[in-house]
């Protein structure tokens, strides 16, 4: 069931003022820190600081998207310079004037541009850059009900391709270091959820999930990881989303301090001011 206007206007307006859907990102935000969820999705507080990693990852995604779109449209594969133009255009588009970028140690725009150059060069040398798989979706938005009583799930899928017998969902990741297969499996909750929406596109095909991981290293690597799509895993993540949603719906918002998440949180001052009353 989709949230009605009345539900959105209620004191437990937990999806946010303008949303009648829930995203995997929102669910994981709550799981990491319920108070951050409240600030971002319920109170819709402005984010005055954005991490460079977020902008960088988004801009790399945009360059990859440009490459695949050009191929889908029957154009010549873009050159590295064209991909870098797409990267820079996306970087500019993702840094609104009212937001400060929080760079990591020793990072600035120039060093990240050089890193993008190396990463996109590495990508162009992979089979993925010249794949003949049939592309059916790039940054494709899917939306639908997965769990009765929980708002629609909104999924934005990086790449949807088909083979003769499968529908393949690919998620692009930029990572500090190379992934292991175990890391891919542990990071697959988003893909598993998305698989439930995507399988409705072509019900007669098996669904395959994969990550394409580009490392942000001196010598970047590009590696593909297939992940297991068992019904057990899909059921488990679906139930986890359902329980998370019930907690959100009940208005359980509290801080969950973490040395991993707090340093990059844009709501640190609001969090410090929070009294819980």
């Amino acid at each position: 069931m989709i949230a009605t206007v009345d539900q959105r206007d209620s004191p437990l307006s937990v999806v946010g003022k303008k949303r009648d859907y829930v995203s995997h990102s929102a669910i994981t935000t709550y799981q990491q820190c319920p108070l951050r969820y409240q600030f971002k999705y319920v109170d819709v507080l402005p984010e005055t600081v954005v991490s460079s990693a977020l902008i960088f990852g988004g801009a790399i995604h945009s360059a990859l998207e440009f490459h695949i779109t050009e191929r889908l449209c029957g154009n010549e594969p873009p050159s590295l310079d064209q991909l870098l133009d797409a990267f820079q255009g996306a970087w500019r588009g993702r840094t609104p004037e009212q937001q400060d970028i929080r760079f990591g140690k020793g990072e600035d725009h120039n060093s990240l541009s050089a890193l993008a150059d190396r990463m996109l060069t590495a990508f162009l040398a992979t089979p993925d850059a010249t794949s003949d798989d049939t592309v059916i979706g790039i940054e494709e938005e899917l939306r639908g009900e997965l769990i009765p009583g929980v708002p629609d799930l909104l999924a934005r899928i990086d790449l949807l391709t088909t083979t003769s017998d499968a529908l393949v969902i690919t998620d692009f990741k930029t990572a500090r270091s190379r992934w292991s297969q175990g890391q891919a499996e542990n990071s697959s909750s988003q893909l598993l959820l998305y698989s439930e929406l995507a399988r409705r596109l072509l019900p007669d095909r098996e669904v395959r999930l994969r990550f394409l991981v580009l490392t942000k290293t001196k010598t970047p690597t590009v590696e593909s990881f297939d992940v297991d799509v068992s019904q057990h895993r899909v059921h488990r993540i679906t139930k986890a989303v359902e329980h998370t949603w019930r907690a959100i719906e009940a208005g359980h918002f509290y801080p969950a301090p973490s040395p991993m998440n707090c340093p990059t949180c844009p709501f640190r001052s609001e969090c410090n001011a929070w009294t819980g009353d």
Binding site: T69, L72, C73, G74, I136, E141, L160, R200, L201
Partner: protein, 170 residues
């Protein structure tokens, strides 16, 4: 041999989130040849047929009509005997629905419609080669616009357009 009268009507309505729904109906009526000699009566029959088509399309768009059974679970052909002023006629009608990111038949069954990436690609390739995409999909797949193609048909069309483009550029 009886005279045949064909009437077709289609209409689309906007939906939230940049989506749209469309319905079309085609009626075929067999008439007595003698009506050719009676233009007033013939026009009456045509008007009658159009009114029926309009009502059918409105029903489909408003969701007040009965679900037809046929291809994709949302379109199909069925014969209706309709007494009164109309002779035997054949009706085929189809309703389609799509919305941004949620392109699917309105009733949720059958093959999903082309993705937005596919639709953009079809327009881009066709535009570059000055191909009338509306006519192309009508002639080739009997749909009104690329949005109404199935995912598989959209892939086929993209491959064909790209092949034709490659052939031309050689």
């Amino acid at each position: 041999m009886p005279m045949k009268l064909n009437v077709g009507l289609s209409r689309k309505v906007g939906e939230p989130n940049y989506g749209s729904r469309g319905a079309s109906v085609n009626l075929e009526l067999e008439l007595d040849n003698s009506l050719v000699e009676q233009p007033e009566r013939l026009r009456d029959r045509i008007r009658q047929l159009y009114q029926l088509a309009e009502a059918s399309v409105d029903e489909e768009l408003n969701g007040t009509g009965q679900q037809p059974v046929g291809n994709n679970g949302h379109g199909g052909d069925h014969n209706n005997g309709h007494g009164g002023g109309l002779d035997q006629y054949r009706v085929s009608h189809q309703g389609t629905g799509n919305g941004n990111g949620q392109r699917q038949p309105a009733n949720g069954h059958g093959p999903r419609q082309a993705t937005s990436s596919q639709v953009k690609a079809i327009h881009a390739i066709a535009g570059r080669n000055r191909i009338d995409v509306g006519r192309l999909v009508q002639d080739r797949f009997n749909v009104q616009r690329p949005d109404d193609l199935s995912i598989s048909d959209a892939s086929t069309l993209i491959d064909e357009l790209k092949s034709a483009q490659t052939g031309v550029s050689r």
